[in-house]
Amino acid sequence: MTTTANMSAKQQPSQVYFFGTCLIDLFYPEAGLSAIELLEREGIQVHYPQAQTCCGQPAFNSGYNDEAIAVAAKQIELLSDPIPVIVPSASCAAMMKHHYPTLFENHPMSSKANELASRVYELTEFLVRVLDISLTDKGTPVKIAMHTSCSARREMAVTEDGFSLIRQLKNVSIVEPERASECCGFGGTFAIKQPEISAAMAEDKCQAIHNTGASKMISGDCGCLMNLNGVMEKTNRGIKGEHLASFIIDRTRT
């Protein structure tokens, strides 16, 4: 690939990289496909490098920075053309956008890491702020509970973008569960290392979602979805969480 896209404010990029994230790759590929379809529908050429693996966040959050750098460096090399990198998960996007620069501080790849960071977008952020897409709802009336991940809310500040996309869907009513800003308890390895605390957090979150009376839960982060769906299923609550991209695609497909 040799094309260099001009990213001026008014000009839409014609090509983007798609970074699928390791959770989506293995557990929620339909969310990845939906996100790609959303981008392609806007006339954008999506590049999906087959050599991509993981952003390195699990090791980084656990304090294993050498290992995180080794894996992150491969992704940086892989996503080297100056076109936007779209990530359908705020926590992985935040890793690349906000943590790569510090992780690679004093590293030979520092400037490359910074350059990549400047091109990273969370999916809803890109759809709303760069593409300004409009959606036409073709689905039947439904009430959904929106779960915003902590990374979307705090690190990426894209909560509003997810809401504004769903609000374009006429037949969808959105409710936010009680204590919406509180963590669902996933936190990557936190859920494994502190299963009891994590479960208490997840259980409260599921109860709050259940209390909204919504029939579906929507989130832009597959980590939260895996956590909450696991609890919902174990406790037979009958609510299933879906990635925001899949939900939008299903309701807007012709």
Partner: protein
């Protein structure tokens, strides 16, 4: 090695009364803080200013401490330096015993908890009575504070009523809060008049004027600092600020972040002992400046940010882990997010490294910190030092002590797998093919959740199939 965090957290989670007490209290405090900061733009500017003041102060910390000492001495306040908790206790004990003191009344001070002052004095025959109502309750119950601002927040009024009934002679059960407070006050009033020494903490120590500032709501603090003939203030060296002008923004951030108050009921400024002709105030005032690891924190450019803390407790109030397990589960003087950052640096990662794992890195603490301490980043940094390779240069004591061979091996395996695209694709492909044989039990995860099942085909596979199909389409056209 302190490896009890998880066990203590499990016990706390199993106590429904405790969970209710904390949940209710934290929801209340969060709402209070929110209503105190309605203008988000103003809050943003004030936080930035708080950050700047504390950062500027830290940049000149050694000079400011010298200036503080000089001005205090000039004002007649005696200054003592303590490198360790033992030294701090010894200094205070010497001051009390020099005047044959038997009873000390204490205002709220987390630093005095940090050095274990009550215990030290009691072992030497000196009664040290807590006069803050929450601290008094905790002392009566033989416990330690579970929160740095509201030490007895883990107790319901009914539990306190039972405690008073059991421990105070002639007191009958009542869960009327006013009556309970009245009882406590009556007992404390008498003690204030009998005490030989008053002990307090310090919220801000002003270098340019040699002034000790104390923030409080109950009025007990000023009783401690004015009634007894001797006043001893103890503080960590990071509490120094350069000028009086630094105080208003920091005070505003402190009270609003802590309890949602625009201003506290009392704000004491102590600049000297009683002067000739004055009718009240102590004959002598002492200031004990405690290091206890702080100058070491100061050496690390990242971890130095810890010293910006003004001890408001907002990080605890907003932490989803603290909200559920409470302060005692941490088993340390300072609990919650700031505790997870401070304690391993004071006590060493070998002793307190485990508590850094009690964090989902959700960022709520960093979001509310009035002086913008990047708490999640510091927790992550300490995790890194905790499991650092032995040849590292970490300054924190106990660095590398919790590097577990099994865990380190798992991460090197992770690196191999995610660092080799072909291997990664091979393994994920196998996982999708064997999805029905994927494990149904994954440690603690499946105790509370069902196990996630790999998709029939990974996104990598689906995308490569799509690319192939497109090529075939292209060729047939």
């Amino acid at each position: 090695m302190n490896n009890h965090f998880r066990e203590q957290a499990i016990d706390a989670l199993a106590d429904p009364q405790l969970r209710d007490n904390f949940r209710g209290a934290m929801d209340f405090l969060r709402a209070k803080r929110q209503s105190a900061f309605t203008d988000t733009e103003a809050l943003k500017q004030l936080r930035a200013l708080g950050h700047k003041i504390k950062a500027n102060t830290l940049a000149r910390l050694p000079d400011l401490l010298e200036q503080l000492e000089q001005n205090c001495l000039q004002n007649g306040i005696q200054v003592h330096w303590a490198e360790t908790p033992e030294q701090a206790c010894e200094v205070i004990h010497n001051i009390i015993s020099a005047q044959n003191g038997q009873l000390a009344v204490k205002g709220k001070s987390m630093v005095s908890e940090e050095v274990g002052l009550n215990h030290y004095l009691e072992k030497r025959g000196i009664e040290s009575l807590e006069s803050d109502m929450g601290e008094y309750i905790v002392q009566l119950a033989n416990e330690t504070p579970s929160h740095i601002i509201m030490p007895a927040i883990h107790k319901s009024k009914e539990q306190i009523a039972h405690l008073f009934e059991d421990k105070i002679e002639g007191v009958d059960y009542t869960d009327n809060v006013d009556e309970l407070i009245g009882t406590g006050r009556q007992i404390l009033r008498e003690k204030f008049s009998q005490a030989d020494v008053g002990i307090s903490g310090v919220n801000f120590a002003v270098a340019e004027t040699g002034t000790l500032c104390l923030v409080e709501n109950e009025g007990n603090g000023r009783m401690c600092t004015t009634v007894p003939s001797t006043h001893i203030a103890i503080t960590g060296i990071e509490k120094v600020v350069a000028t009086l002008d630094d105080i208003p923004p920091l005070l505003s951030l402190l009270t609003r972040s802590a309890t949602g108050q625009n201003i506290s009921t009392y704000f004491n400024m102590i600049s000297s002992p009683r002067k000739t002709g004055e009718k009240d105030g102590p004959q002598s005032v002492h200031l004990v400046l405690l290091d206890n690891g702080r100058s070491r924190m100061y050496q690390d450019e990242n971890l130095q940010q810890t010293l910006r803390c003004i001890r408001c407790g907002a990080c605890m109030n907003h932490c989803p882990v603290y909200s559920r397990i409470g302060g005692h589960a941490y088993g340390t003087v300072y609990p919650g997010p700031i505790g997870q950052v401070v304690m391993p640096q004071i006590d060493g990662l070998d002793k307190q490294g485990e508590m850094t794992e009690g964090c989902s890195l959700n960022g709520a603490c960093g979001e509310v910190c009035p002086v913008e301490i990047p708490l999640p980043n510091l927790i992550r940094k300490l995790r890194e030092q905790k499991s650092a390779k032995p040849d590292g240069h970490a300054l924190t004591p106990g660095a590398g002590s919790q590097r577990k061979p099994k865990e380190a091996f798992a991460w090197s395996l992770w690196q191999t797998l995610y660092g080799q695209p072909w291997l990664y694709r091979f393994v994920t492909k196998m996982a999708t093919r064997l999805r029905h044989a994927s494990p149904r039990a994954i440690g603690g995860w499946t105790r509370y959740r069902t196990a996630p099942k790999p998709a029939p085909k990974s996104l990598h596979e689906l995308m490569s199939q799509r690319a192939e199909a497109n090529q075939t389409d292209g060729a047939s056209k």
